[in-house]
Amino acid sequence: MTTSTLNFRSGTSVMVVRELRRTARSIDGLILSIVLPAMILLSFVVIFGGAMNTGTKYVDYVVPAVIVLCAGYGAANTAVGVATDMTTGTIDRFRTLPTYGSAVLAGHVITSVLRNFVSSAVVVGLSFALGFRPAGDAADWLTAIAVLLVFVVAMTWIACLLGLLLSPEAASGSTFLMIFLPYISSGFVPVSTLPEWIRGFAEHQPLTPVIEAVRSNLMGSAASDDVWLTLAWWVPLGVAAHLGAAVLFRRTRKR
């Protein structure tokens, strides 16, 4: 093993510890990863659930969408931390370290995955208490988790890129997109109940295959099309954002 891969590994683990502390020690971070997912789930299942008619038990219908919404929003929040680092002296010091520079961004991505694992576990755990009864077997669960992983990693790289481009305030604003975009999909209500002009978007936007892939796997009715569609959307998006972020991390100077 070369010195630089050693440096990259220890550098990344140091950055993961840093980002976990950032989350665990801020009220925002805790609300975002635990309270918000629980509130959204409860709102939909308990408050709106009674009025919803999706042909199935609503809790079974909506849980995958809540997981994807929270994961997307949680990943998007990476942008705020990255943008904040860019406005203090921190980024300059990191850039002048012998450590492989991408350790900083890799730390953000790994932390985002860990954070979303916790959020998703909260949502799934609570949804069982609310009557969620998934029918998928172990292989289906693993597929659903893999789909979410690809989505979260790609979303986090996009957030890194936005964090490098935007001010902390604008970065924080950009995360709201991830709160609202999932509503215009098949996640919360069937697309057929949406106004006609918005259906095209709802059916074809990149979050729809993620939600559908998670839902069909958890419910045991594997629809592999959505898995492939998820990969077709999010792998290129993630790779492009990763490459962009790696270049910008070296170049961008804000202030």
Binding site: S10, R18, S26, D92, R93, P98
Partner: protein
């Protein structure tokens, strides 16, 4: 006016930092037009210049954050342009803005920087404890940095900068915004680092800081180094010129007097005027004769300060400001 002293002859071997003919422009704005710099083990060099002179730009070039348009630079013999990543093992930057995490404790910040600088976990913890002790931050070690005072932050930031024991340390305006006591404290820390062998290049807008802290002062103006030397060498540039200050009992007296004499500066707030001269006795006699009835309350002869040198180098056509009392 150019003063060059033969510092390189005082040292053996090679300098830790050597930059030659550095040019940098932003668009049409030429910020650096041929700067040469050498930095040797254990010395503190102050880069002095007004706001916008290009101090940060030069520090950023030496820190591999910016590429120069022309020129070469090496740290520990490693070419910064050809191998920036290897060069980064040998220096550290403490920029104008603190690079600390508010949500981590002082100890955690230091361990993080030591580990990112390449120290194994165990060594990093030992190093953090040692730094906290020498910077007298031990009692605050476990507290989050968000609770630190401005002076404590600066000290911790400096400690974080040297966590991985760099050979060269670049400090961009390290004492800006500090109260005098914290500033003196930081000076002591910086001098101690130099005694331990670190080569230190710092930028400052404070002449007093450069005078008291630095072994060598470089004055950056209009893109080049217009002077280089110790504080007293630079003061010698004024060729033995002193300022004689005449204070008056009232503003009316001062107004009358300034109409009658060739003052180099008039200070209406202090009811005083100053005259620059290399022959103080004859000047005093002359001025008193010119003033006739006007009441002179006090006469003081002021040693030249670095301010005078700086102003004479950077604003050659402007009259110099009234000299300050020499530091006690």
């Amino acid at each position: 006016m150019q003063l060059s002293t033969s510092h390189s002859q005082r040292h053996a071997g090679q300098p830790i930092v050597r930059a030659e003919r550095i040019h940098k422009r932003f668009g049409a704005h030429k910020v650096l037009t041929g700067v040469d710099i050498e930095l040797w083990e254990g010395e503190v060099v102050a880069l002095l210049g007004i706001n916008g002179a290009g101090k940060t730009t030069l520090i950023n070039i030496l820190s591999t954050l910016l590429k120069p348009d022309q020129g070469t630079a090496a740290i520990a013999g490693i070419d910064l342009l050809a191998s920036p990543a290897s060069a980064r093992r040998h220096f550290s930057l403490t920029g104008q803005y603190a690079a600390l995490d508010d949500f981590q404790s002082g100890h955690e910040n230091l361990v993080m920087m030591a580990r990112l600088g390449g120290l194994p976990r165990r060594d990093a913890h030992a190093r953090a404890r040692q730094l906290l002790e020498s910077f007298e931050l031990t009692t605050a070690a476990a507290k989050p940095v968000s609770s630190y005072s401005g002076g404590m932050r600066r000290r911790l930031d400096l400690a974080a900068g040297i966590a991985s024991r760099p050979a060269a340390l670049f400090l961009d305006e390290p004492t800006t915004g500090l109260d005098p006591q914290s500033r003196h404290r930081l000076w002591q820390e910086i001098r101690q680092l130099a005694r331990d062998g670190t080569a230190i290049l710092l930028t400052t807008q404070y002449l007093e800081e450069a005078d008291r802290l630095a072994d060598r002062i470089l004055i950056l103006h209009h893109g080049t180094l217009v002077a280089e030397g110790t504080g007293s060498e630079l003061k010698g540039l004024l060729g033995g010129t002193h300022q004689v200050r005449f204070s008056f009992a009232s503003l009316e007296d001062l107004d009358q007097a300034s109409a009658l004499t060739q003052a180099t500066a008039v200070d209406p707030d202090a009811w005083s005027l100053t005259v620059a001269t290399s022959n103080t006795a004859s000047t005093i006699r002359q001025v008193l004769a010119d003033l006739g009835g006007t009441n002179v309350a006090n006469i003081a002869i002021l040693q030249p300060t670095l301010d005078d040198v700086f102003l004479s180098l950077t604003e050659p056509n402007e009259p110099t400001q009234p000299a300050k009392e020499p530091a006690p």
